[in-house]
Structures are given as C-alpha cells and as structure tokens.
Symmetry: C2
Subunit: 479 residues, 2 copies
C-alpha cells in the first residue's frame, strides 16, 4: 500500500514505463525467461481491445478458428525466407509423454506454415474461396532483451490468414485489414497512426509486401503497432494451396496475413501516459468511471452512500464501466492518486455538500490541474457522463496527434536529419536503396518506419545520397 | 460436394461421431500427433459457449488474466500428487533460441503451479483476498489415443484459480463454480447433468476434493463435463501462498481450481445429435436460423428474394443469428440436408406461394418428420422465431433429460449392476472403498462417475460387498 513515486518521464522514460506497468498491475514478470503475466487489469484492457478488433473482423467477413500451438519443425523449412527469419527465435519441444520425439516440434512463433498446410487440405475449388480466418492466441519467439508488452518471448495477439483466387483480391485484403487496424488505433485507442509500406529490409520473413501502422510514443520513438502482409503465391507454393478455377484449371492461391498484439497496450501506455501514470482512452478503459464517496462520520456516510449507490446503479445500468471505491482504510486523496495512476478517465466525487446541493464533482484524467474539475447536477448524470467520456476520447486523440505532428521534422539535408532523429521523427525523401537505409541506421539508430500511402505528388532527392527519390519515408528510432 | 451418408448411431456410434465432426466442419486432425484444428463452425460454437460461461464468471466476481504457456519443470515437483499425475503427459521444451536450456520447460498441462507461484508474490494481506482469476486458453497433455474434442493432446478450456482466507470460503467457491457449470450445461447447452463429488481414485492430482458435472451421451456412456476442485492448503504450502490475517498472523491460503473445456462440444454433439447429424441448442448454435429462398426462374427469384431479404434484415436486426443460403449451384433439398446435418435449429423456406400468401414455412430440427413443419405469417416473424427458438431450446433439454432418466437403472444386486451398465447407468449404494470400485471397473469397465449431492436420506448396503453404505453413486462406462 506504500506509495512510491514513479520517476518522471523526463528523468527516465524507460524506468517510468517499467515501474508503471507493474505498479498499475497491468503485467508482471513470469518465472520463465522472457515471459510475462498479464494481470487482470491489463487483461481487461486487452479484452476491450479484442472486442473492438473482433467486431471489425467479423464486419469484414472474417471468422475465428484455432490451430495447434505446436508445429513440426520441417514445416518451417518449406519457405526459405520464413525459416531464415524465424530460426533463431524458435523454442523446440523434443520430448513428449516421456519419450524423445521422432520429429522436433516448434512452439508456434507465427502460424503461416500450419495454417497453409490446412488450407491446402480444405481448399479445392474457387467455390471455397476466399478463406478468411482469424485466430486469437499467443505465440513464442525467443527474445534476449525483453520489456513487458513491447517485447516478450510469449505474447498475445491475433493473426489473420486469408487465401484468395486472385492477386488483386489478396492485395485488397491486405490494405483492408491495415485500414481496420488504423481505424481501431485512432477510434478506440485514440492513437494517431501512419499507414504505409515497410521497406524490404523491414518486411516480414516470407512476405512480398508488408504494410504497417506506425505510432509515435511519448518519448518520440516509433512503435510498429499492427502489420498486414501480402504473400503473393510464396506460401501457396510452399504448402501447395491450389484450387480449380471456373475454367477447371489448377491455380495457386494468393495469401495474406495480418496481426496486432499486446504491444498495442505498450503503445496506449506510452502515447497517453504522463508523470501521474496511465491515461486510458474511455473506449477501452477497464474502468471508465471511479466513484469516490466522501464522509467523515457514520451519519454523513449513510447520507452519502445512498446517493452514491443510486449513481452507481444508474451509470452501470447505462452500460458505463463504473467502479465504486468505498474502501475505509485509505483516504480520498490516496484514492484519487491511485485511480489517476491507473488511468481511469473520469472520477466522480460525492460528499455531504453534494448530497445537499444535488450535485457531484467530476475530475477528468485527460486535463491536468484545476481545470479538470467541474460540478454537475446529479439529475441525468448517465447522459452527462457518457457525453464527457466521448469528449475525453476525442481530446486524447487530439492531444496525441498534436504531440506527434509537433515532433515530425522535415530536414533539408542529411546533417539536419541526423540532428532531428535524436528527438523526433524525420519525414524525408529516400531513393529506396538498402545502402542509404543502412547508413542512416548505422549513424543515427533511426530506421525507415513506413513509406506512407499519403505521399507528395512530386519527386525529390534522397536525403542521404541525393539521387532521385520517388517516395518520402518516416525515419525514427523505434521500439 | 458429394454427399456421403453418415453411418447411423446404431450401426457405429463412434464412427458416426468421427465422421460427423469432420463433415460438419467442426474440427479436423492436425499434422501434429494428437492435436486438432477447430474449424470456424466449431470455434463459433465454442465462442458462444465461452460467452455464456464468461458472463457467469464475471457475475460471480471473477476476472480474466493470462499466465505463460511455459512452466519450469521443477514447479511440478513441488506438489507430490500433482507431479505423479501429470508427469507421463508432459511435453518438454529443451531448446530455445538455438541453445539448450539450463532448465527444461513444460508446455502447460494445467496452470496450478505457475499461478500458485505468482499468487505467492501478489498476496500479502487479508486485504488482497479473495483472488478470483480465470484464464482462457489451451493446454497440452500428451495423449496416446485421441478423439476430436473428447481427448486431444492440445485442447481449449478455461481454468479458474482462486485463493481464499478460509477453508469455508474456498469450499463455497468450489461449489459455486460447479453450480455455474451446471447452470450453463442445462440452460445453454440443454444438457442435464448430475452434480457431485468424485471418488478418491477419480479426483484431480493434488486436490483434496474434486467435484464434477456428469452427463449421459447418446450411446449411454458418461462424460465428465466440467470439474471444480478444492485444494485445501496443498498448493498454498507447495508454493508458499501466505497472507497476514487481521490479527497480523501469517496464514496459508486455501485454493481452488475449476475447468471446462472443448470436451463440452463433444457432449453437445453426442447428447443431441441423431442420424441426420448435429442438433445444436439455439442458445449456442453458430447459426440459429437458415433461410432458404426457393424459385425456379428469374421472375420467381426476384419476387422471392425481395421477401427473403426483408426477412433476413428483420431477423438479423432482432439479434437472431441467421444465415441466408442463396447458393445457385445446389438444390433446396441439398440445402435442407446440409443444414440439418450441421444442426441448425430452425429453417425458414420462402417460395413463390409463400410470397403470395404472406407466409413462410418453418422446419424445426428438434422434431423428426412431418411434424417439424409449420406455416406462419410473415408478419411479426422475428417474434414468432424468437419464441420458437426458446421452445426448441426447452424441448431439447426435455428430450435429453427423458433419454437420460430412462437409461438410469437401480439394480437390486451386483449381478444386475453388471448387466445394466452394459447399456446404461447404474445408481447404487457404494461403501466408498477402493476395492469395490476397482472390482466394478475391472469386471464391467464402468467407473464411479459421481457421488451426487442429491442423496436418499437413508443408508443402504454396498452393491458390491454388502457392507454399510452411506452414499449412492453413479456407475457408468465413460469417455
């Protein structure tokens, strides 16, 4: 119960993050190297994110299924780039039921291979296409340096895997799901993102094209927050996913995959959080409103609790995720700090004077200081609160967008680029060569984050080599 | 598309089951020994079951969280019975990231150990209790003989793990969650169950008391469909889960765990299914209503589809899970058989005469033959259908209960018991000894399924040895 202060973001952003994740009881380190435990508060946040994504997946025609967590090692060897990319990260099961296995099994790091295998069994004809399947679960990638939510050996995610009759359809699907991710990030997580294409060096192992949404964290580093990949026929050929088209000709499918993980929780923490702690967007907050009754004696208590109980019932009945904090062993001030640290968007205080006046005090988490407070009538409180939650959601997106845009620079030359990426992003012309990309990475630690779809209509000169450049790219240091 | 007929249940119940699971696209065998793929139709059924359970868990104060899929092997050795029970079934990870691990890791077969470890970190004081956490996920138990849904190496489930200050509270929790399972089975899955205590030989490895719900399948074998365990302080002592009580004395917690898995899908198939295929209870059916438009030419099609589209929109808007089957490449008769096989509770047919008359034809899946059909007005169809779905749900529970009760026997002596358990259950006095239990198992293959809470008030004589018996027990052959 002792209240140790967080370091400020300025003092030490990394330490602020690490301590906050644990202090807010979002997650904890597991007794297994590199793994995490997602605690109920963090998992409820993830459940709310899942609900927002799953609804969008189903609206776009997808269904969920479940594929095994173990995959034969030989499956990985069927797609050359895929095995090169994932080999160093595999966890291998060698024994089962007390005996050594004939073939080692891999704890899945991603499921293209086993899903590809099943698709080759299920897909026979054009009538079976498209196959639009998503899976919720966890995957395991052996990681050396871990950070809760951002990089752990096991992490939670969804992976969509689709098969299509034509390249065009598969490319459409790739973009459609990136749009779904962007819509989710912006609308539900209040995180502005750029959509675009990854460079060849940054793309997924085995993909012909990887797209991603990229967001700016509070320390101005970038976080890849969701990816959508177009595989062409790579996996279809590796796993023999063929269908008879309408002319009775055997064709390979075109496939895609797309994933968004609990990294997004890391993004929510780092985009919105401040020195007081978390700041959670109302749409996904496990608790949207905390209700704190205030009283000094039993007489006051009985009067206050009657009103508080009614408010609780009214707001809960209106579908608002409300928590009553009626702990007697801590002070109201302690409760305020505690729930602010946990990022609850709105606090309602009810004391004896509020009871008399028919009012309550509200405190918004998204606004600092005195301006966060207001007094409103108890009458029609559910509607007042609902409107305020929408306003908070919008204001959080606005703040995050302003912060991001203020920290995107447009360097004139390479010297300036080197300077600005120390504490921000650079949006600059790039010729597309691996050499220029590698040079920037080596000299500044900034990588190409994404070549946004939204491009100037003209061309320019590569900020590194000065050659003709057809696209601008975001350079930034990234998680 | 070729329609191969299922074997009848009488011909070969096991083969009927195996073929149906695959034909209805509920699940498929994976290319990994003993593992299954749950296909979208099966997974949607599981999602609907999850929703019904999760709601009940949350209503009883539980929250979800996620613990790692890998557990250090040494954790299993901390509770003697637990390690004995699970050792033969473990899958072991020996290598990660290209190197041999210092300590092997187990792919979780169940999570008491790792959750116990975390609880010992989190629980400090009586204020932290009770801890009421559930986890949705999959576990892995190396199985030799597998059967889709009923026994696979990896299976999907939820596992609740709770810690309490007192034995009484922990026992209450154990019973409460059994009640939740029974309510879910009866109300949502339309499966009547007996609640009670498992015998010592049948209980969970490490439990002081295991309780279960037991159901009778269509072949009269029993299926343990959900279990709730009271651990006393066994795991608290093994993992040092202690708290300071209100007198500032260090105490061990009392813990419980409870689980229900995708086995329940097997129960739904085997309790309700018939020779035509699945019969799914409306509350959990992925598709509650299939709408089949019938027409012979384009003119009829345009008139029929206008009405069909309206019906579809009305029912969908009313929250009914409806599917329109407007495939042109198959006949209405094919569609009827197909959706009957897939167990859709209600079919609506709309043809040109229905358009004229303002009516539709309805066909109930729960009633065989002509009586399943009726004609109702199109007006107010959503209400008609909702009522009918409730009626179907109730009728399915009634049918399953009548079938079960008709196949429970009350043998007078051991000779009769041996006879009746060949094709039914026996409810009989049992002295409680392992010897009598073992004798029955050896001579009849029937095991003690559950000692029901619901007992006669008197005592009797053990059906095996004739000694005093205080409880009656269900004997049956089981999955």
């Amino acid at each position: 119960m002792a209240e140790e202060k967080l370091p400020t973001q300025k003092e030490n952003f990394a330490e602020w993050y690490n301590q906050l994740v644990q202090k807010a009881e979002l997650a904890d380190y597991a007794p297994v190297r590199g793994c995490m435990v997602v605690r109920p508060y963090g998992w409820t946040l993830w459940e709310n994110m899942q609900a927002g994504l799953d609804r969008r997946f189903k609206e776009t025609g997808h269904v969920n299924a479940a594929f095994p967590i173990l995959i034969p090692l030989s499956f990985f060897e069927k797609e050359k780039e895929h095995v090169e990319g994932f080999s160093p990260e595999l966890a291998i099961v060698t024994h089962g039921g007390g005996e050594k296995l004939e073939e080692p099994l891999v704890v899945r790091p991603t499921s293209e291979t086993i899903i590809g295998y099943m698709y080759s069994k299920w897909i026979k004809s054009w009538r079976d296409l498209p196959v639009l399947i998503n899976q919720w679960g966890s995957v395991l990638r052996w990681e050396l340096r871990t950070k809760l939510f951002l990089r752990t050996a096991e992490f939670y995610w969804q992976e969509g895997h689709t098969a299509h009759a034509t390249e065009e359809e598969a490319r459409e699907e790739t973009y459609r799901m990136l749009d779904v991710y962007a819509d989710f990030a912006i609308t539900d997580a209040a995180i502005p993102v750029f959509k675009g294409v990854k460079s060849d060096t940054e793309k997924f192992a085995g993909a012909q094209m990887s797209t991603s949404i990229e967001a700016m964290m509070g320390d101005k580093r970038a976080l890849q927050s969701g990816t959508s990949h177009f595989f062409g026929q790579n996996f279809a050929k590796a796993f023999d996913i063929q269908f008879l088209d309408k002319n009775n000709t055997l064709q390979y499918c075109h496939t895609t995959s797309w994933g968004l993980s609990t990294r997004m929780i890391g993004a929510v923490i780092m985009v919105h959080g401040d020195d007081q702690g978390l700041k959670l967007p109302p749409k996904i907050a496990p608790i949207q409103v905390v209700l704190v009754p205030i009283y000094k004696n039993l007489d006051e208590k009985s009067r206050v609790m009657e009103v508080a109980d009614n408010i609780f019932a009214e707001l809960k009945g209106a579908g608002i995720r409300i928590k009553m904090d009626d702990r007697d062993e801590v002070t109201p001030g302690f409760k305020y700090n505690d729930w602010e640290m946990r990022g609850v968007p709105l606090r309602i205080e009810v004391g004896p004077r509020d009871v008399e006046k028919g009012s309550v005090a509200l405190a918004r988490r998204d606004i600092p200081g005195r301006e966060s407070k207001s007094f409103v009538p108890q009458a029609d409180l559910a509607r007042t609160v609902s409107q305020l939650l929408s306003e908070i959601q919008a204001s959080m997106l606005r703040q995050a967008t302003e912060f991001r845009d203020a920290n995107i620079h447009h360097p004139k030359d390479y010297a300036e680029l080197k300077e600005v990426v120390k504490d921000g992003w650079a949006f600059a012309w790039w010729c597309g060569s691996r050499e220029c990309e590698a040079k920037v990475k080596e000299e500044t630690k900034a990588t190409t984050r994404v070549i946004p779809f939204d491009q100037p209509i003209d061309t320019g000169k590569c900020i590194v080599c000065g050659e003709l450049a057809e696209k601008k790219v975001y350079f930034a240091r990234a998680y």
